[in-house]
């Protein structure tokens, strides 16, 4: 069983944290991963930076630009993560845009992920239809779980299709937005969380976008299995550096 699937079976609400690899400094990657695990985070999304991150707001854009300036590349990231499984047990997911993976070679990329012990991928600009037709077989053969996004605008029919293609969790984007654009949830979100909960999908859902503190984490996980924090964590790192990661995580989980 994939680590993601094992994790999802635990009887608790999960906290997943996104960070941009190579930011604030090129070699911070493994320290951030270790500190997040030690602080009690359940899952980590390692952001592979891209020059043109369409689905991201200014916070993650800026961290990506800086990471690229620092010299981050796909190859550098794989090297940094080479021995990560000697010390880290929680699920690791790489989140990145499709073009760098395409240039690396999709199969080579997947193979490398398997070697390192990456459990899954989130690729916002690889639509489920294309994945299903062209790449699923490759991902499957390297034991990788691909995670798809849904939004309040995604139709029930499409959600069911995404559910059928997924075998980990569904990334439930809380509102129609880029990352870091909105914070907090209104009635609309609650209605949406309920609607999805009522669909009784085979994959659990993890909510992302708009979660920044204990309150929003609780709200997001009332109906869903877990929540993902991205921009708020990147902001924390920007403002406070990487020495106070446990403080950040504690403030969410307190």
């Amino acid at each position: 069983m994939n680590r993601i699937q094992t994790k999802l079976e635990e009887d608790k609400k999960l906290l997943s944290i996104y960070f941009t690899a190579g930011y604030p400094n090129l070699d911070d990657t493994t320290k951030i991963i270790h500190d997040l695990e030690k602080s009690g985070v359940d899952m980590i999304e390692i952001g592979l930076p891209f020059s043109d991150p369409l689905a991201d707001g200014p916070t993650i854009q800026d961290s990506s630009t800086q990471a690229l300036k620092n010299g981050m590349t796909t190859e550098v990231l794989f090297n940094q993560l080479k021995n990560i499984r000697k010390s880290v047990n929680i699920p690791l997911i790489i989140m990145g845009y499709f073009n760098p993976m395409l240039q690396y070679g999709v199969e080579d990329f997947c193979k490398k992920c398997q070697e390192i012990g990456i459990d899954g991928l989130i690729i916002p600009d690889l639509p489920v239809d294309v994945y299903h037709e062209e790449y699923k077989a490759i991902f499957d053969s390297y034991g990788l779980i691909n995670v798809f996004l849904i939004t309040p605008q995604t139709s029930d029919e499409r959600i069911r299709f995404i559910d059928s293609v997924s075998d980990g969790f569904i990334y439930m984007v809380s509102s129609a937005s880029t990352t870091g654009a909105k914070s907090g949830f209104g009635n609309e979100q609650t209605e949406y969380f309920k609607r999805i909960d009522n669909l009784n999908l085979k994959n659990p859902q993890i909510v992302g976008f708009g979660i920044s503190n204990n309150r929003t984490f609780k709200a997001a996980t009332t109906y869903a299995k877990g929540a993902i924090i991205g921009s708020a964590f990147v902001k924390h790192v920007t403002n406070e550096g990487i020495e106070t990661i446990p403080n950040f995580v504690n403030s969410i989980l307190k």
Binding site: L54, N99, Q103, A176, S177
Partner: protein, 608 residues
């Protein structure tokens, strides 16, 4: 199979349809139809048979019309008896013999017995759908009835044939029922109003029907690909919007009301058709024949408005009330702000900070037109980044907003939709060149390429004409090898930018690199997927032109022809310095925009 286009009425429209070269053109001499023909027929190619359509008309009158209009065929739509048909074939009152086509209307069934007595007295039969009026009822009959066709006389198939019937026609062609089918007769399904034919749709119909492999090679397929390029690589957040567009754009564009509104605005508001101008002095200078398609004379000064008119009408049909756009040179931003003012819709334009500085007059124009201009501050702060910001805006406003992309780029269906709106350029070139040179097809068509919308429009109706060569001109910046360039076809590799798979400039690691060109409109690291395909297949010859060559060519055109071109366009014009054409070659070049917006750049460059 031959083609007959029936129900012609207006002089200009007759000429335009004739340029498509149907085998028969039909003129209805029956007063009770709105397509009643009562003017003169312009001079037509002798390959086209002028056909008079009559309904139980007095024989003498028919004979008089045949002589008066020099008709080569008559189509009898009433209960004309066999002897009546025979008279037309034998009378000595006709100056020249005519073909006699006898029409039979088919409803739920048809008794073929009735044909017996007509076998010897007419040349063709025509089977039409029975309706209230003779012809033009707009629906088809069950063609499988023709499985029982007992005769060997060739016939025309008619009644409700339109672009949606192409698949059915293909199947029909493969069936036994079509064994004696000689021609298709089309009419009401290709009309903007009774008697006025929609040239674009007619052309598309013919292209689709010809089942030409070449055609399919260069057009978008059902999956949204041109060969290996295209598709829709978009975040799920954009899926509902893009899917809504994909499902509706062809339907909406095919709707006669839409087409009518579009054509009307192109004519009255944009000022189309734009002239096809024979550039005499420029031609002499380069010892070849150069025609300039004057998109610079459009309202707002470039081809961009063809697309924004189309897309604003599309947005309205989709019920959107907020419009966003990206812009490089500001031409597309101005064209979008213009149509938003025209329609009273909110308009937000994203523009790179660098471009805002180098295209100041256009920024001012957009503001005057009521648009909000938001600077893109990320990346190279040019067109690519403006496009990123527009896409992010769309993600954040998924319900009420339409994104008017300004070039033949982006996720499917954008490249195809923009191409179709711009295809009016080549549609006009065809009949304009026919008028001026007696032939529709030039030897070359050429255009500059940023994302590739003016080029796509200029090439569209020539893509499948093998003897028309295509030239695509990219911006080399300071030189292709200088590191400061936007020559995507040379420097690019297959990858994904702004939602489509195409050629793009990128690092080995798949990061998109920052292009450079003196021209804001060509300063883009990708190219539309159609052009990537034209480049890979060798269908188009790609040339790259440096800043300095372009600037010189812009100055040259100004001095030789009294036309100051946009710097984008100047790139296309510079090919004459690098490529020799034969004296008798006809080169049609898209003069995509005027140079007003670039005046400061010209002034600075030449220290004028």
């Amino acid at each position: 199979m031959k083609l007959k286009v029936c129900g012609m009425k207006y002089q200009d429209n007759i000429e335009q349809v004739a340029a498509i070269q149907p085998d028969y053109l039909g003129f209805i001499f029956y007063e009770k139809t709105p397509r009643h023909f009562n003017t003169k027929i312009p001079k037509l190619s002798s390959d086209i048979k002028k056909t008079g359509v009559f309904v139980n008309e007095d024989l003498n009158k028919v004979i008089q019309k045949i002589n008066e209009f020099d008709l080569q065929a008559v189509q009898l739509h009433g209960e004309e008896a066999p002897f009546y048909c025979n008279m037309l074939r034998t009378t000595t009152l006709l100056k020249k013999p005519v073909e006699v086509i006898k029409v039979f209307s088919v409803m739920d069934g048809f008794n073929f017995k009735i044909l017996d007595e007509y076998e010897a007295v007419c040349d063709y039969y025509l089977f039409d759908t029975k309706g209230k009026l003779p012809g033009g009822n707009g629906y088809t009959f069950d063609w499988s009835l023709l499985n029982d066709y007992p005769s060997t006389k060739l016939f025309f198939l008619s009644g409700g044939i339109g672009i949606d019937e192409v698949e059915d026609i293909r199947k029909f062609k493969e069936s036994d029922a079509s064994k004696y089918c000689y021609a298709l007769d089309v009419n009401s399904k290709f009309e903007l109003e009774p008697g006025l034919k929609n040239i674009g749709v007619l052309r598309e119909f013919i292209n689709k029907l010809s089942n030409n492999k070449k055609m399919q090679e260069y057009n978008v397929d059902e999956r949204g690909y041109y060969g290996n390029f295209g598709g829709a690589f978009i975040p799920e957040m954009l899926y509902p919007n893009v899917e809504e567009l994909r499902q509706n754009y062809l339907k909406i564009m095919g709707d006669p009301d839409f087409k009518k509104e579009f054509d009307q605005l192109l004519k009255d508001y944009v000022g189309r058709p734009s002239p096809l101008y024979f550039a005499k002095r420029l031609s002499e200078n380069y010892n070849t024949k150069i025609y300039l398609k004057r998109e610079d004379l459009n309202h707002t000064g470039a081809h961009k408005i063809n697309n924004t008119i189309g897309q604003i009408l599309m947005a309205k049909r989709l019920g959107k009330n907020r419009i966003i756009a990206e812009t490089g040179a500001g031409q597309h931003g101005v064209a979008t702000a213009t149509v938003c003012a025209l329609m009273g819709l909110e308009c937000i334009v994203y523009m790179g900070e660098i471009d805002i500085a180098r295209q100041a007059p256009n920024v001012a124009r957009m503001k005057m037109l009521g648009a909000k201009v938001i600077p893109a501050l990320s990346g190279s702060r040019t067109l690519k980044d403006a496009t990123n910001e527009a896409i992010r805006d769309w993600i954040n406003n998924p319900v009420n907003t339409h994104y008017i992309i300004g070039s033949a780029i982006g996720p499917h269906p954008y490249p195809d939709m923009v191409t179709r709106f711009q295809s009016v350029i080549s549609e006009e070139i065809k009949w304009q060149l026919k008028e001026q040179e007696g032939r529709e097809n030039p030897d070359y068509v050429a255009a500059c390429i940023g994302g590739g919308s003016n080029a796509a429009g200029t090439y569209y109706h020539f893509l499948h004409e093998e003897n028309v060569k295509i030239i695509a001109v990219e911006a080399a910046g300071l030189g292709v090898d200088s590191g400061e360039s936007a020559a995507t076809s040379v420097l690019g590799k297959e990858g994904i930018i702004h939602g489509c798979k195409t050629l793009l400039m990128q690092t080995d690691d798949g990061q998109i690199t920052e292009p450079y060109s003196i021209s804001a409109g060509l300063d883009y690291p990708g190219v539309g997927p159609m052009h990537a395909h034209l480049s890979k297949t060798g269908r188009a010859e790609f040339m790259s032109i440096t800043d300095s060559d372009a600037m010189e060519a812009g100055l040259e055109l100004s001095k030789l022809e009294g036309i100051i071109p946009a710097i984008e366009t100047s790139h296309a014009l510079a090919i004459f310095k690098h490529k020799t054409f034969k004296q008798e070659d006809i080169v049609v070049m898209s003069l995509s925009g005027r140079g007003d917006k670039d005046l400061q750049n010209y002034i600075d460059y030449f220290k004028i």
